[in-house]
Symmetry: C2
Subunit: 344 residues, 2 copies
């Protein structure tokens, strides 16, 4: 006898579809709510010309980080980066954070002290205040939630939805390094546990480790844009990989995206380790994530000004929705962009 199916597995829907499904019938009713679910941060009006930005992120041990190779101090630093990067991705300045933690009995006070030392260091560096938190027991492992608050003039906030045809697609820094740092740590853990006969080797890959363990949010870019009087037509930070983020902009802005493979910036160490491990560094850039770099769009005529900022690459441009989202290879072939992440 067949049973009627009454249980749907989360993996059948995927993360983005799940969030859409669960929050699709929520309507904002408060006059102060400018933007609710659907961007890097919510936007709340606080005066005629200013708004507050609000974002929240959860990180769970064994899923988002592994304490066997993630030093607690770096973890504290990285959690702050993850939180404030969402504010930065709206072209806004982070000012306050709160951190909630759930800790099981296996987590010692010393681990928590190291964790909060990292939090404190990141707060001082980014000039944000830790203003609250909550502590709970947990059944297994370490659970962290960060909420970040920022502020910006309403007419300077960049949403995902403002990209226009022919806008240039700009990218800060380089991509794939954080992912390669993770792969390096995973390999060395395997080596250290006796799973392979080779020696651990971190030399020459310090940059990759730093990009994975201690990435910095690009609030400096918000300052640079402010100095030049530029307000991106759209903006997002790279947490899930270039493909996924560009698809978010395309969806929110109802546009297409055309980027060029040979313009995607990769660090030397990213290429070197990818070669050594027989991996594809472009795949790391497209789908690796956790780079905390910024993708933003600006009108074509701002080209010279953008390049004047330094360490920013123009990797492509916005097209009509009908043209879809494509990566163009050196040979001129077009590859359709696809989102990775939670689904895989």
């Amino acid at each position: 006898m067949e049973q009627k199916k009454t249980r749907t597995e989360i993996k059948e829907l995927g993360q983005f579809a799940l969030i859409d499904t669960l929050t699709s019938n929520f309507r904002s009713t408060k006059e102060h709510t400018i933007k609710g679910v659907g961007d890097d941060a919510a936007v709340i009006s606080i005066s005629e010309d200013e708004a507050m930005l609000l974002s929240t992120d959860m990180m769970i041990e064994g899923i988002d980080f592994d304490l066997t190779y993630f030093p607690p101090k770096h973890l504290g630093y990285k959690v702050v980066t993850r939180g404030i990067s969402d504010i930065v991705a709206m072209n806004a300045i982070p000012e306050q954070i709160t951190i909630s933690i759930g800790v099981s009995a296996k987590i010692s006070v010393e681990v928590l002290r190291d964790f909060y030392q990292g939090v404190r260091f990141a707060c001082e560096e980014a000039e944000v205040d830790l203003v609250g938190g909550d502590t709970s027991a947990s059944v297994t492992g370490f659970v962290i939630n960060i909420t970040a608050v920022g502020r910006q003039k309403k007419n300077k906030i960049s949403y995902r939805s403002g990209a226009k045809k022919n806008d240039l697609i700009c990218l800060t820094g380089n991509l794939g390094a954080a992912y390669m740092g993770l792969r390096l740590l995973q390999r060395e853990r395997y080596v250290l546990s006796g799973g392979a006969k080779i020696e651990p080797k971190f030399e020459g890959y310090e940059y990759l480790l730093e990009k994975y363990l201690k990435p910095r949010a690009r609030y400096d870019v918000v300052d640079s844009l402010e100095e030049l009087g530029l307000v991106p037509t759209s903006m997002i930070d790279v947490t899930d990989g270039l493909s996924s983020e560009l698809l978010q902009i395309a969806k929110a802005s109802s546009c297409g995206v055309r980027i060029y493979l040979d313009r995607i910036p990769l660090a030397k160490q990213t290429n070197a380790l990818a070669d050594e491990m027989n991996l594809n560094s472009v795949t790391a850039a497209m789908n690796g994530g956790e780079d905390y770099e910024l993708i933003f769009t600006l009108p074509l005529e701002k080209r010279e000004e953008i390049l004047g900022i330094g360490q920013i690459d123009i990797i492509g441009h916005i097209t009509d929705k009908e043209q879809g989202c494509v990566l163009v290879t050196s040979a001129g072939d077009e590859i359709k962009l696809e989102a990775q992440g939670f689904n895989n």
Copy 2:
């Protein structure tokens, strides 16, 4: 050979000491941060006379709730209550929330749908907007973090630290009902699993179940105080039990507290079930927690106005710090207040 001790267990310090230790060396530096760690919510200046309130709470399956007897819809409702109650406890009006969830493979999409139905119902009832969130996988069970945002005129915000000698200690509703509701559910689970020979019995205890499974934040009290032009000198919500909350006010306000046992309001059902289960209903009120009622203080001369609100009891008054925090029995004996909770 003795080893130097390098690992401290969290239980050696206790939750409150832990939070104090971990965040004691954080200093707020932003001009907009009015109040950081140490109250129900952080306070951030948004204009000359107005501030935004920000609070965060984490709830973990198996610690804060048990899905074997907590229906997901009620859980969604209660999470919202927990979040916005922290804003209400500052005498402010909640306006927005964000909810992050961590879900393991055992949680189905249907459970999440029910959960968000409860969230939605509570949002509509309390007139708050869900404006963001995050979804993560989890190794075991269901993890929830709520962040709540509210707003209030700066001169109407009630901190824990403003209680003055001779102020009246006021309490909304009644206490201990949520704890007795939890005990009832635990007993019936035991019965249902065949652990006892008696029949499950909820009749006559519906109010207790509702107070535990679907408590409402007392934002109505903020409205009543506003109508009367009253601003409490201090305020806190009852999440950890009356003892613990009064000790928080005493600590923050550098004062003593004197409350009277026969003035502590208990519901009929609380007394009835306590009798039936051979429990002490006063202990449930003092240490049970999760009532989401409000404790606040007001000057002696406001006595008539307070009692005019209805369903508010004056349970004692503020004393000098040297007199400590005591509960006075009907016989006139004094019992020193002690905090329960995480430590036990």
